[in-house]
């Protein structure tokens, strides 16, 4: 193998040059039995049975080591290698194994379309591929699909409508999923616009402006630009809704600003400066049994007007940083399922 490792003794040289089989021995089995007895003894009777096991293991381990190092100690055991007669490949006879001299497999006869070896090769690859696919597909599906399918829709109970003074802005902080805890905490800017006539039924219905505080640049939390809470001399309220506590902070916003990259929005959520690509998102809502319920969000390109009379250019929910109108919208032709 390695010239510098070669022993000067010709007898030991053979150790490196020739393949040689270790002598067949039963000692390892005795050693293994000893170890098993030790382990069983640890459960049953550590002093007695484990000691017996230790004795067995030591005795057989010694015999094994003695056997295995016999060659090193200069008592090589002669082991006859197995031999078989050479069989020539040919008609009516089986081919000899590949490790013997001669042809391992007879050459395929002309006219044979698929030799046996080719068929086995293809079958192995094909079966391997099928088994691999059967294992990989569900795993890959499990890795990817739960992020897209069966998304929970959160209805957030925001407390009685009466808590929202007409024409006053509130910063509302709430959790969408109490089981998730604070990681599902969201904030919205909410203004009660009073009641307005429904254009279809002419019935008076409540109107709310509910703006998500998530910046439409990259999703940081925008803050209201203006005095709030104690500066206004108005206490904040905490409502217990079905989704956990909802905190309402009165605020007088001149607009909203994002602390991350400086986007600015006016009080209706229109972008006025910075890298954001559209107006702030808004929440759908319903009033159920006198309580304000937040539904899913939608995207807005711009808002004209204000309050109940605002004209909102509404689009299906897009991620932060995605244009919803103009030519850039064609970069996002497909959206993952969303509530």
């Amino acid at each position: 193998m390695e010239p510098e490792q070669r022993s000067p003794d010709p007898e030991h040289q053979s150790l490196h040059e020739e393949a040689h089989l270790p002598p067949p021995t039963l000692w390892p089995i005795g050693f293994a039995v000893g170890v098993v007895v030790i382990l069983v003894g640890l459960v049953i009777n550590p002093e007695l049975i484990s000691s017996i096991g230790a004795v067995i293991a030591i005795v057989f381990g010694f015999l094994w080591a003695r056997d295995a190092t016999a060659e090193l100690r200069g008592q090589p055991l002669v082991v006859e290698p197995e031999r078989r007669d050479l069989v020539e490949a040919g008609e009516g006879r089986t081919a000899p194994p590949a490790d013997q001299q001669g042809v391992a497999l007879p050459a395929p006869e002309p006219g044979t379309t698929i030799p046996r070896s080719r068929f086995l090769e293809g079958a192995t690859l094909g079966l391997g591929g099928i088994i691999g696919g059967l294992v990989t597909l569900p795993v890959a599906g499990f890795a990817i699909l739960p992020a897209f399918l069966g998304q929970k829709q959160h209805k957030v109970d925001m407390g009685p409508v009466g808590d929202y003074e007409v024409d006053r802005w509130y910063v509302a902080t709430f959790t969408t999923d109490p089981a998730e805890g604070t990681v599902s905490r969201r904030a919205a800017f909410i203004r009660n616009n009073g009641t307005v006539a429904d254009p279809k039924t002419q019935k008076q219905v409540p109107s709310f402006t509910i703006i998500s505080n998530r910046c439409t640049h990259l999703g940081c939390p925008t803050q209201a630009n203006g005095p709030s809470g104690s500066i206004l001399g108005l206490p904040s309220k905490t409502e217990r809704g079905a989704n956990g506590p909802v905190k309402l902070d009165p605020v007088v916003p001149a607009g909203y600003g994002c602390p991350c990259h400086g986007s600015q929005f006016d009080v209706e959520g229109n972008r006025t400066a910075g890298p954001a690509v559209r107006a702030l998102d808004r929440y759908e809502f319903e009033v159920d049994n006198g309580r304000l319920i937040l539904l899913s969000t939608y995207s807005v390109s711009q808002v004209v007007g204000t309050g109940a009379q605002a004209k909102i250019y509404k689009y299906r929910q897009a991620g932060p940083g995605e244009h919803v109108n103009g030519p850039e919208q064609w970069f996002y032709p497909l959206q993952p399922p969303h509530h």
């Binding site: 022993s7 990681v183 999703g219 991620g319 970069f331 497909l334």
Partner: protein
């Protein structure tokens, strides 16, 4: 082997000791061939005018191993849940014995790893070592760099403090603005429409299992190609330019190339069956 004189007792004892050491090694080598393999891997011939800059790759590998080992230990104490993540980080840093050190090694080692990869990349670029026939290894190296940055991105969320949270919000939404597939990538990373507990466990799994596995596989490929193609001489090498006779082993030049044929190929041409 004939001795000119009778060996002394000390010589016999020495020989006996060598045999004792070699016997288990031979036993192992005969059954695995790994000792020869390790020797082939570690004791390769390199150009005589090799430069210290050429150790930057090994330095980056060492930094990666430090990250792997410290990461495994940190995983024993870290809890990837929204309620447990930050407290467990505080526990590691402030209470567990030497936790501050191992976490610090992991945190700063992350930057060291990236910096060393960039320095290594700069060395390869300035030495022209990315040229034929090593283009593929450059590409593999770039993939390792990208995966290293993915490690940085996913690892940054794990402390679960305000910086981590909002940096990840911004990072995921940046991915989301990629044309066409962006929204899907973002939703995959978020594991849903919103950041949740699953985002944290997903980043944890990506950070400690998937991406490191990919990096290890790519490092294996990278090293295989380094060994197969050999190490380049620095660009100022007079030997490689043919201006100075090479050492005892002259490297044959292939016609039309001003640079020597990489050692692996040269050896294969000179004597079929490899050199080592």
């Amino acid at each position: 082997m004939a001795y000119t004189r009778k060996p002394t007792r000390a010589e016999i004892r020495r020989e006996r000791m060598e045999e004792l050491v070699n016997y288990p090694l031979d036993w192992f080598e005969e059954r695995s061939g790994l000792i020869g393999g390790v020797r082939y891997f570690l004791f390769r011939n390199v150009p005589s005018d090799i430069n210290w800059m050429q150790t930057l790759g090994s330095a980056a590998l060492t930094a990666f191993l430090v990250q792997a080992i410290t990461g495994v230990i940190l995983a024993m104490y870290y809890q990837p849940t929204p309620q447990g993540a930050y407290p467990s980080i505080v526990n590691i840093t402030d209470h567990l014995t030497m936790g501050w050190l191992v976490r610090g090694m992991h945190r700063w080692g992350a930057s060291v790893f990236i910096i060393l990869m960039f320095l290594h990349m700069g060395r390869v670029f300035l030495f022209g070592a990315y040229k034929y026939p090593r283009e593929l290894n450059w590409i593999v190296g770039v993939l390792i760099l990208v995966m290293g940055m993915m490690e940085g991105f996913t690892g940054y969320l794990l402390p679960w403090d305000q910086t981590a949270y909002w940096a990840t919000v911004v990072g995921i939404n940046l991915n989301g603005t990629a044309p066409f597939l962006g929204p899907f990538i973002a939703q995959f990373l978020r594991s849903g429409q919103e950041i949740s507990a699953q985002t944290l466990t997903r980043f944890y799994s990506l950070h400690m299992l998937l991406i490191p596995g990919g990096i290890m596989a790519l490092i294996g490929l990278h090293l295989y190609l380094v060994i197969r193609l050999g190490v380049t001489s620095p660009p100022w090498s007079k030997e490689a330019a043919g201006m100075e006779p090479a050492g005892e082993e002259p490297v044959p030049l292939r016609p039309g190339l001003t640079r020597p044929v990489p050692r692996g190929i040269a050896a294969a041409q000179a004597e079929p069956g490899g050199s080592d």
